[in-house]
Structure formats: structure tokens, C-alpha cells
Amino acid sequence: MTGTSAKAPPDPYRDILGVDFGPDRLNSNVRAFEDILNAIRTLRECDLTDVHPAVVFDPASGYGEEGAP
């Protein structure tokens, strides 16, 4: 008994991506995603290593001016 043999590996769609569709729906969505994926693949090729994302985290947001020190 090693305790490691019974557990199935995570399902790439259901467990990793959180997709919970039936097989037919999954297949049709994967097909529908092809054109979108092509556009995203182009983006993936772009080297953006040194670029800060446009969305900037602001820990003071929500305090208002009265919350400023």
C-alpha cells in the first residue's frame, strides 16, 4: 500500500479550468472557441515581460479622501 495509486489525475477541463459541461457541449464550445483561440495565440506570442498591466492595484481605493493620512 503506497496510498498513491487510487486517485485519478485531475481532468484538464473539469478540474483545472472549472468547466462542467457535458461532452457534447464541451465539444461544441471547443469548436466555437477556435477563432478566439487563434487571436489569443497571437497575443501569447507577444513578449510583454517588462510591461505592467493596465489595471493598477490601489490599496487606498475605497477609503476616500478622509481616509488619507
Binding site: G18, I40, C46, V51, P53, A54
Partner: protein, 464 residues
Amino acid sequence: MSAGLWSRSIESLAPDLRSRRVSPVDLTEAVLERIRQHDGMLKSYVHVADGALEAAWEAEREIRNGHWRGPLHGIPVGVKDNYTARDMPTFAGTTAPGFSFPRKDSNAVARLRAAGAVLTGKTRMHEFAWGTVTPPTCNPWDVNRVVGGSSGGSGAAVMAGLAVAALGSDTGGSIRIPASICGTVGLKPTFGRVGRSGIVPHTWSLDTAGPLTRTVADAALILNVLAGADPGDPSCANRPVPDYAASLGQPVRHLSVGVCRNHFFDRNQDDVSNAVERAVSDLASQGMTVREFRIPALEYGLGAIFAVELPSSTAYHDVSLRNGRTGHFEPDVRTLVEVGRFVTGVDYLKGEQLRRVLMDDFRRVFSEVDVIVAPTTALTAWRHDATTLEIAGEQESVLAASWRLTYPFNLTGLPSISLPCGFDRDGMPIGMQVAAKPFDELTALRVAHAYERTHDWVSERPTL
């Protein structure tokens, strides 16, 4: 009832309403009669307000008693169905069971009400503001053709005189696309210029509220009312609001116009490109300097906007997705909400990184130009049953083509106003957009107004 009141602009009506030469009740009755006559065919409204005439009577009483609230007082305005309102239902374009939205005025509706506008009803939109069409709404120029989307009901209603103006929302082009396709003006302000509290979200970092109107001046008058802080919207800027209408009519001869030669002119219908080229020449003839430029990173823009808006919409609908309610969505919207799960966190953040690249690229351009002029849509109104069209010699999906020229200004958050600049060989309107620096709607409006007043496109009306 006065014939033709429904066809007039806010700019022309406001002085007459103030001086009581025109009655808000007569104006509202004219618009409501127009809805009764034509909306069975156009299908631009999902709800006609019960209280419109009552609000018009109230406006009449107030004006008679010397309490004129401003240029929108007594003006009938339609509201896109994703803005909540205290006295009208909100469906956000869905018939799926299990959704209910508050009976409370959204920020924009509250501002319109405070300005004395008469709310005519809720205009039809594509479900949850997805998509660049608005079935089953028909185009007033040819009922066999689409109105664009997702604010298509607003576009059709304004063009056909079923509202003097209307609210829209723009995530990837949803104000400017129907404006272009229907022949109205459509203003997407800077992201954060107009508060969005009370608008059913699509994509938090892209959604922008704004008006569809008959003229540029009308868009300025409505922006005067809508712009400003909204405590209920964390993205809304608390910046001073200039008088947008007061700046119109000032000379533009010392300004410069930028024309982006890649992306925006790569693949358009010939009539569209030709009309916009003529418009650029017209602006040059008014003394504006024309500078051409290129932004190569736009090649990655489509991937970026997909990577941002798909998971954002899916996150908003996550509970509905898990409990099966999305199974009741329209098939196209259901698919888009479901496939948002396929976009990884890395893809999303690369989309946000690409946005920064584009923002920096456009900032550099705006150090040399005051506005950018481009076509709004690569194609004009297409037939309801068309899924692809030949554009510049290639077969292309109409949906893919319809937002190609609008989403760059959503990714960058820049203000952009679409206005008519001609008609194609089939008599369908052509739109061009004028974009400006962040929070410089004033300059975009000035240039758009300078073009508009030297042409007669806004007086063209479809025969219903």
C-alpha cells in the same frame, strides 16, 4: 399635437421648451405616437414607460412656473435595458429565468431625471450586452437589415424619432456600432467619465456609459448631465466637468488630425473607406493638419480584448453558469459565457499588459495630434440573414468585422464619438469616429461638430 416635433434635436427643442413655444406634453405625445405607429415593425423598445406623459406634464408645470432645469428638461429619452430604473423593469436583454434587477435609478437615469428628461422606456439590447447585433430590431433605413449592437434599440429609436436621444453602453463598440449602422451620433466617453452604478455589468474594465443622439451638440448636452463622480462606481473619476456644449463652434484650424494607416484602413468596404477619406480631406480644408501614423501592436488587439472581456463576463455569470441558468441564454451568448472558462489567467494578464502597450502607443501619437479620425465600422448595415460578407476581396464574418475598428478605443479607454459621414451605394449610413486623449471629449466633440455643420447628413431621415 405638433407634426414633426419628434424629428427635432435637443439643441433646437431646448430654447422652444424653455420659452414655452413647445410643450413637453406635445413633444412626448408626438414621440409616443411615433412608437405606437412604428415600433411594431422596428421593435426598438422592450418596455414603454407608463409614466412618460406624467413626467412630461410635470416638466410643463415646472417650466411654466419658471423652474427650467436645463436643456434636457422635457426631452424624451430612451434608456438601454441594462440601466436600472425605479419605475421601469430591467431585463438586460435576457428572457432567462432567475434574473431580477433592482427597481432603483442607476446613476445615469437619476442624472437624466434630475435634469428633467422624460424617460420614454427601455430600449432593446442584445442579451447581457454581448454581440454586435440586436435581434429582432430592424434598421429604419431598411427593415431587412440589422441595427448593430448591443445598443441597437437605442440606435433605431433615435434614428426613427421614437426618442429624441437614448442611453447606450459600450464595451467593445456597443454605442458606436449601432450609431454608425443606424446613422446617429454615438458618444463613448473616456472610461471613468460617466458613472456606471446601476448598469448590469459586462466587463468591469471596459464598460462605458454614453448617449446616442441625432447631433454632436446633443451628445455634448447629454454628456454635461451624465459626466461626473459616481460613488457607486469605483472606476468613475472625480474630475471637473467642463461645459462640453459651450466649446462647440470654436475654430478647429489650429488642430491636427491623426489617421492610423494600419488596422483602421486595412480591410473596409470601399464606400466606407472612401467616405472617411473624404471626411479627413474636409477637415484638412477647414485648416486642420493631417498626420498619418501606424500602431503595429494593434495586431494583438483582438486577442487582448477577447482575453479580457470573455473571462470578465464569465466571472460575472459564474453562479449562473454553475447552476445551469446559462442554459436558458440565447445560444450565441451562452457559448461566449461558457468559453470564457477556457481563457487562462495568464491570457487575461497578457491582455491587460497589451492594453498598457496600446495606451502608451496612443499617448505618443497624441503628443503630435489632437484627434484621431477613423471609420467606425468596416461595413454598413448588413441583411439580417447575412453571416459573412465580402469585404475588400475577402469573405469575413460580419460580427468579426463590425467591431474591429471600435474595440481599440475600449482597450485604451479613450473617448470616441461616431457621427454620420455619408451613405453607401445601397443608401445605408456610414459612420466615422473621432477619438481624443483621455478626458478630452471636448476636443473630439469640437472636431466632430466642425465636420457635422459643414455637411447635411443629420437632416437625412429614413421613410418608414
